[in-house]
């Protein structure tokens, strides 16, 4: 039916609600990248020698690399010399000691984003580490966590206060030689979050970070390192937004997770970077390397992601299942609307015996969006009785978008069991009409259908994040049927 096709088209329009710019004085390095920039960056941050040496190694290696072209995305080439590799809000003192010292304009930004730090601190009991452009501005709840031996701070602070932990684990999951973007990140990363949960400690609250790219022509290269020592448990949430700008901004982050024997790390992301406008102008290039290692028996790492933003997403949160009986999980919702392109998925590398992995990927394509699932399940020789279950569902809205799946399976051990299921469906006129006939507006109907489609993933998110994710999807598809 021709008319309903137009309706679906109309519903897919949307506005970006986090697209404001905060007017704060910024201190930046001039655009461009060379060894001096890497040195200057390290000096600005007062880093110990081992950090500078590591950055330089990475930088030199990066010079030998070329940008990967294999992802199912197209974009204009990035001019790495036009990016500023350091940008920090200028503040009177070196770093804010408490929220009261944080520039009120920054706090206002977070308010607009719906993360009032104070409120969270007081009411919600969520410890928030907020990264504004490149510097961590406020870390809350530190004291309470410190009493349990939990370290939750900016990466820069960790480099100064816990250099032995940083040196021991940095680059052990994502080596500086790993890939073009991770190597670039290793050379120029500015800040990020650091978490260490000691042996046997169950972190009593969700740890949470919000990233926001504010300054124009800056890249954001944050680096997160989370270590759960033996028997420890931690759940970490990451949320992202960026203001609307015409030019594209690069976000090349690295996240490394280390789960030792019997430890559990749950990492949840709700990513809402600016996706660009309807014509595909502007938006964030989100080229991220996320990887966790189950470095001990019965360790567990679980990635949950809801990706609604970015012009281009290139992201494969992965798990190295090294310890026997270790478990890896990947739950993903990726939305590609308008001209967005998402190439996302996971890698599950089974190394230890009886290792298990579960992959549930939900791709939603609307407008002219292109959504690709790319997954690798690799079972090495020694991985006796490895198990993988992969479920990969695509939902299409309208007929100008696309969904693609690229599942790769490599099995070197005959006892392995690998299952893969895939479905593609379209939001049907009949579903829309059915829900409208029950009194729901077209938009609520679409939102209900989409949320139903994503349910298996949403139920993995911590409660408050699940609510946020549902709202976000609703907003992202606002205007998608009339």
């Amino acid at each position: 039916m021709a008319s309903s096709k137009q309706n679906i088209e109309a519903l897919i329009k949307r506005d970006y609600q986090a697209g404001f710019v905060t007017d704060v004085e910024q201190e930046s390095l001039p655009p461009g990248l060379n060894e001096d920039v890497v040195r200057a960056l390290s000096a600005k941050k007062n880093e110990p020698a081992f950090m500078l040496a590591w950055r330089l190694q990475a930088y030199r290696h990066w010079l030998t690399m070329t940008e990967p072209k294999w992802a199912h995305v197209r974009y204009a080439p990035v001019d790495y010399q036009a990016i500023s590799y350091y940008s920090a809000p200028k503040s009177k003192k070196d770093a804010p000691k408490s929220l009261d010292e944080v520039d009120p304009k920054l706090l206002e930004t977070y308010e607009k984003l719906g993360i009032p730090l104070k409120e969270r601190e007081l009411l919600a009991g969520v410890a928030v580490d907020a990264v504004f452009d490149s510097v961590s501005v406020a870390t809350t709840f530190k004291d309470k966590l410190a009493a349990m031996g939990i370290i939750f701070c900016s990466f820069s602070e960790a480099v100064h206060n816990h250099p032995e932990l940083v040196q021991k684990y940095l680059g052990t999951v994502v080596p500086y030689t790993d890939n073009f973007f991770a190597t670039l990140n290793s050379a120029v990363f500015s800040d990020g979050s650091f978490v260490y949960v000691p042996k046997g400690v169950r972190c009593p609250m969700e740890l949470s970070t919000y990233f926001r790219i504010n300054a124009s022509k800056t890249g954001q290269f944050e680096r997160t390192l989370i270590i759960a020592d033996e028997g420890a448990t931690v759940s970490y949430l990451e949320g992202c937004t960026a203001p609307m700008r015409d030019e594209n901004q690069l976000h090349a982050a690295v996240v490394e997770l280390v789960a030792l024997k019997g430890a559990t790390i749950k990492y949840s992301t709700v990513q809402n970077w600016y996706p660009g406008d309807v014509e595909g102008r502007g938006g964030i290039y989100n080229f991220v390397t996320k990887r966790g290692a189950c470095r001990g028996d019965s360790a567990k790492i679980s990635w949950t992601q809801v990706e609604t933003g970015s012009a281009i997403t290139w992201k494969y949160p992965s798990v190295l299942l090294e310890g026997d009986n270790s478990v890896g999980e990947f739950y993903s919702v990726a939305l590609a609307n308008n001209r967005q392109q998402a190439d996302t998925g996971t890698k599950m590398i089974h190394i230890g015996k009886n290792t298990r992995s579960t992959i549930v990927s939900k791709g939603i394509s609307a407008g002219r969006g292109q959504n690709a699932y790319r997954g690798l399940v690799k079972v090495l020789k020694g991985a006796e009785n490895a198990r993988n279950y992969t479920q990969c569902d695509s939902l299409l809205m309208g007929d100008k978008c696309g969904a693609h799946t690229f599942p790769y399976i490599e099995v070197k051990n005959p006892t392995a069991k690998v299952e893969h299921e895939a479905t593609t469906s379209r939001i049907g006129d009949d579903q829309l009409f059915y829900l409208q006939q029950r009194g729901l507006s077209a938009e609520d109907a679409v939102s209900m259908i989409v949320n139903g489609f994503c349910k298996e993933v949403f139920k993995e998110l911590p409660m408050e994040f699940a609510v946020e994710a549902q709202k976000l999807l609703g907003v992202s598809l606002e205007g998608a049927v009339g």
């Binding site: 039916m1 059915y434 029950r438 298996e456």
Partner: protein, 253 residues
């Protein structure tokens, strides 16, 4: 309550309804019968406002309003309910979640506050009994994996909770076993009231033993070719449709 005058409608340029006239008063139950493909579901869909059904002539007045000017959800909120011939599956959305969203949308439209969780659950449990459905159905995804009969019962459950002013039941009896038929009929009868009107589309006189209609109409080739009281259904059962449709003018001819 409902006044349909010379209603004409096409699907994909093909005329299906060719001048329907029908008056339904509050409190009445009308049955519509007729051969396959005669336009019964089309009529129900046009009344409910489904996309792709183009009204090419005539008018429909519902509670004094121009029904055809309203969006489907507005019609629903104004009290028009369609029990689908083929209820639709909505994966991942629980039955109770949809019921709640629907009821609240309708209540909001009527200026009522949202029902709180307890009152809502009490209402739902009571209506479940009416259609003899188990509570577990509330937590299953809407119609997903329901048997044909369960889907039909679920439609009546929704109707019982949303309490429409005008209910259109499109072959709700098809695919029901004898016991389920009685249950559905009881559910429908329980909802009969002086304020509520129903249009029941069916192929079987049997249903009308349970839901006794005030009027019976025969729809053929997009027109109502004969109307009568409940005895018309018995007559049709005996003689088939030929005796009413034979001399009916075929609009396309």
């Amino acid at each position: 309550m409902l006044s349909i005058k010379n209603l004409q409608a096409s699907v994909e340029g093909k005329p299906i309804l060719k001048g329907i006239d029908l008056e339904v008063k509050a409190g009445e139950v009308h049955a519509i019968m007729g051969p396959n493909g005669s336009g019964k579901s089309t009529l129900a869909n046009v009344l409910a406002g489904r996309d792709g059904y183009e009204v090419t002539g005539g008018s429909v007045t519902y509670q004094g309003k121009d029904l055809l000017a309203l969006k489907p959800e507005e019609r629903a909120r104004e009290g028009v309910f369609l029990a689908f011939q083929y209820p639709v599956e909505v994966p991942g959305v629980s039955n109770i979640y949809l019921l709640k969203a629907a009821l609240n949308a309708i209540r909001k439209h009527r200026g009522l506050s949202e029902l709180d969780a307890m009152d809502f659950l009490t209402l739902v449990r009571e209506r479940l009994k009416l259609v003899e459905m188990k509570e577990e159905f509330l937590y299953r995804a809407v119609n997903e994996g329901f048997s044909g009969g369960e889907k039909k019962r679920n439609e009546i459950l929704q109707m019982a909770i949303l309490e429409p002013a005008l209910a259109l039941l499109d072959e709700t009896d098809s695919g029901l076993d004898i016991d389920a038929l009685k249950i559905v009929a009881n559910g429908v009868n329980a909802l009969r009231s002086p304020e509520r009107a129903m249009i029941v589309v069916t192929h079987y006189q049997r249903l009308l033993n349970y839901i006794v209609p005030d009027r019976v109409h025969v729809l053929a080739h997009g027109k109502i070719v004969k109307s009568g009281d409940k005895s018309l259904a018995l007559e049709l059962e005996k003689q088939g449709y030929a005796w009413v449709t034979e001399d009916a003018p075929r609009a396309s001819a």
